[in-house]
Amino acid sequence: MTKSEMLRMYEQMLRIREFENQVFELYKQGLMPGLAHLYIGEEAVAVGACAALNENDYIVSTHRGHGHLIARGAETKPMMAEILGKKTGYCKGKGGSMHIVAYDKGILGANGIVGAGIPIATGAGYKSKLKGTKQVTLSFFGDAACNQGTFHESLNMAAVWKLPVVYIIENNLYGISVNINRVTAVEDLSVRAKGYGMPGVTIDGNNVLQVYETVRKAVTRARKDEGPTLIECKTYRWKGHHVGDPATEYRSRDEENEWKAKCPIKTFESYLLKNSIAEEDELEEIKNSIINEIQKAVQFAKESPYPEPEEAFEDLFA
């Protein structure tokens, strides 16, 4: 990995972090309709994974999708505008935080139904396999999604048909308020891969280089038509389940602090500095440019017009 590739990953993690911070601000200011599920703390997963893709590959995201979208190259202006329900948003205000699609980036969509993106990702894989296009699809989903029937059904089909899909579990320990240990008896969710006949591995989801390396191998495997892989990334969401959840009742501040100490961005920053890959001021510059960019995205979103009521009746049928 070149220096510029590494700095790109660093930048992308920062972009997600700052984007989410500003989404939270907009929520607190009462400017955001509905809710949003923040990706803060999990940045290394999306960024490491998407760094392993080619331009014409696909990703399928979840309700906690901002991170995946940014990591895959979605633009922050139309994302932020969408989150505020504006006409200039990716979905013209029809989708909102949970449903952003950026088709031109191969982003087949976030999804509000837990587990529902997994078969869709598998279908994208089916198409690539059938057409021999060598495109790979990344399917992101949470620990809790691993208990939906779609996880099981889709992974089974992907394995038996050797589809070019990489399944990435973001195990942040919780599905809303429910700790994964209260609803699943196994320690590592990646063991389920054995039941389908595909490789499964559990890694540190806060280590962007490890995520990148692991996903890269899986992507290569998929591209060579050797089939899917299940990768479990252990990570943590720093904030509540959504912007309105204080996360006070079901987990401890100690636990939160323990994970914050393992901040994926800080960790990578130290790595870059310690190994003299980058200088402090270089990183500072990136930070400033990101803050600036996101500020502009917020401004763009705020200043954009709402859609006209009649637009509600458009875009139903092609």
Binding site: P33, G34, L35, E82, G85, K86, C91, G93, K94, G95, G96, S97, M98, H99, N111, G112, I113, V114, G115, A144, A145, N147, Q148, G149, G175, I176, S177, V178, R182, V183, T184, E249, Y250, Y306, P307, E308, P309, E310, E311, A312, F313, L316
Partner: protein, 324 residues
């Protein structure tokens, strides 16, 4: 009377029934430690223990099925779906199993199962978390379908649901949970199949469901001032449907407007109209009309969402249109 929220009223109904009968249990996502996504079961896990108030994994179809297995073998489970939209995931257990098992067994078994879920738009929850899918369940023989309006209605009807020996789909409106209402202090229940006239009038009948009953009443009060007397009927239960109350009212008023938040197309309003048509046809002074959610997925942006769902103003406007 006391003033409590709609969410509290539901919690009270659950609490009272759980206290009375240890076979009543509650299953669903996040119903335990945090007391439900909409705070409708706060404190119940502490009171009744984790086995009677169970946080489930995200496995809707199967935990509805677990509810059926429990109901089959002697319990009276209440299963919560976090959003009515997740009916789509659990529809096999709801419609192919719970609804049919008694009938298919020739009456050998009963399925005393209540499935609760929030419906409705208005919170920018977008297309997959805002649907009012009563038309799906009302269509399936073997399910009772309840749509309470106020907190007092919700409490009384939920207690009846839990005591019922059949599968009951209990649809709560998510915009109501935090609203306060007067609720009787003493214990009470509200029977199924008895619609409730919440506002009397002679010029036009509104038959409404869920919180559109409240909005219809608001519209009626506004129309009162203009001398247009609207009778508002809270249908309460779609299955069983109290046709008699609607028929009697329409015979008096000669006009009927049906108001429901489900998608208008192929929703419940056509059925309600047609099922009373024979009885009221020669009394009608105007065609039966209805209001529903426009037949598009619920859009996210509030700039769009409110244009597609029915509200007080739209009800008011429709009445004026009909009355002339």
């Amino acid at each position: 009377m006391k003033e409590i929220t709609y969410a509290d009223a539901i919690c009270e109904a659950l609490d009272e029934e759980m206290a009375k009968d240890e076979n009543v249990i509650l299953l669903g996502e996040d119903v335990g430690i945090i007391g439900g996504n909409f705070k409708t079961s706060v404190g119940l896990r502490d009171k009744y223990g984790e086995w009677r108030v169970k946080d489930t994994p995200i496995s809707e179809n199967s935990f509805v099925g677990i509810g059926i297995g429990c109901a089959f073998t002697g319990l009276r489970p209440v299963v919560e779906l976090m959003f009515a939209d997740f009916l789509a995931i659990s529809m096999d257990q709801v419609a192919n199993q719970a609804a049919k098992l008694r009938y298919m067994s020739g009456g050998q078994v009963k399925v005393p199962l209540t499935i609760r879920m929030p419906i409705g738009g208005g919170r920018s929850s977008a297309a997959q978390h805002s649907q009012s899918l009563q038309a799906w369940v009302a269509h399936i023989p073997g399910l009772k379908v309840v749509l309470p309006s106020t907190a007092a209605e919700a409490k009384g009807l939920l207690k009846t649901a839990i005591a019922d020996d059949n599968p009951v789909i209990f649809m709560e409106h998510k915009m109501e949970y935090n609203k306060k209402y007067l609720v009787p202090k003493e214990e009470y229940t509200i029977p199924f199949g008895q619609a409730n006239i919440v506002h009397e009038g002679e010029d036009l009948t509104i038959a409404a469901t869920s919180n559109l009953v409240i909005k219809s009443k608001e519209a009626a009060q506004e129309l009162d001032k203009e001398g247009i007397k609207v009778e508002v009927i809270d249908l309460r239960t779609l299955v069983p449907l109290d046709k008699e109350t609607i028929i009697n009212s329409v015979k008096k008023t000669g006009r009927l407007l049906i108001v429901d938040e489900g998608y208008l197309n192929f929703g419940i309003s056509g059925e309600i109209a047609l099922s009373i048509m024979n009885d009221v046809f020669y009394y009608l002074d105007a065609p039966i009309m209805r209001l529903g959610t426009a037949s598009v997925p619920l859009p996210f942006s509030p700039a769009l969402e409110f244009s597609v769902i029915p509200d007080t103003k739209k009800i008011y406007g429709k009445v004026k249109e009909i009355v002339g």
